[in-house]
């Protein structure tokens, strides 16, 4: 190899790594692009409006949901309002939860809730941001309703047999948020510190909030 560079290997362009554009556009991707272009051409909204809307969607994060959960942990009256009307309760904290009704389901010592949408991938985006890819996967959507405890175990969540695992399948025009239980040993923490314990996955219900002292 060192004495004669005999060109037994090709010097053509390197193969490209796979890119998202490699797969042909699907029917619905083409339809979506065409409808968006037509709406802009007809002046229903501008390209800037569309970009700003996408940016607004992208700007939401689990921090919004965590703020709501932490307040519910420290304020029982707020928790009651959250369970009665999640969108209105979130608005009290300056969190715009949008117009699609969100229902908060509360974990208790006896009931553990976990959320899925078997028909598509409904998700409380305005409180949690964009869903993780696994939430939209066929594996999660089919297995969570069939063997929820096995799926939870894969997330590191082992629940005792005397707890009722309650899978919530979002099939109508509303969304779900899990209110996890406040971890033991957090009595001295303020609301901001509590909010940092509340992760996206524990508001989906696949994990429990970590106790920082364990």
């Amino acid at each position: 190899m060192s004495d004669s560079h005999g060109h037994s290997h090709p010097h053509g362009p390197h193969p490209f790594q796979p890119d998202v554009e490699d797969a042909p556009l699907t029917h619905y991707q083409i339809l979506q692009l065409a409808v968006a272009e037509l709406l802009i051409e007809k002046g229903v909204f501008s390209g800037g409006d569309l970009r700003r809307t996408l940016e607004a969607i992208d700007s939401r994060s689990p921090a919004d949901g965590a703020k709501v959960v932490a307040r519910a942990w420290v304020d029982p009256d707020f928790k009651a309002r959250l369970l009665a009307d999640t969108n209105a309760a979130a608005a009290e904290l300056g969190v715009d939860a949008g117009t699609i009704p969100i229902t908060t389901v509360e974990n208790t010592p006896g009931i553990h809730n976990v959320i899925v949408c078997t028909l598509c991938s409904c998700y409380p985006r305005l409180l949690l941001g964009l869903p993780p890819d696994w939430y939209k996967s066929r594996a999660y959507r089919s297995r969570l309703v069939r063997e929820p405890r096995a799926v939870l175990a894969e997330f590191g969540t082992a629940l005792a047999d005397d707890i009722e695992v309650r899978v919530q399948d979002s099939t109508a025009e509303l969304r779900y948020l899990v209110l996890p239980m406040r971890p033991a040993g957090t009595g001295g923490m303020d609301e901001d510190a509590l909010a940092r314990l509340v992760t996206r996955d524990c508001m989906i219900g696949v994990t429990l909030p970590d106790n920082p002292d364990t």
Binding site: R166, Q168, A172, E173, L174
Partner: protein, 100 residues
Amino acid sequence: MSAPRFPPGATVRIRSAFPPGHVRAPWYLRGRTGAVSHIVGEMGNPEEFAYGRCDGPKLTVYRVRVRQPDIWPDYAGPPHDTLAVDVYENWLEPAGEEAP
């Protein structure tokens, strides 16, 4: 709001029907029996919206809780595990009535 056909606590069956088109009752629950835990409210029918028919009557939506062993006879977890699902009234029938 008209009186809901099924009060909380009622035993209901999700219809075992297989119509074509846009359908909102998950396949794995059709023919399964559970109990109404909550009346969610009245909502437009997405099975009509899918075809551009948006003026039809609203339907009552029910939260139905089904015991996992009643969905999957070989369910691996404890028998008190449940699944909750929101079902439009057109997909429910009283349990005990034979499905058509």
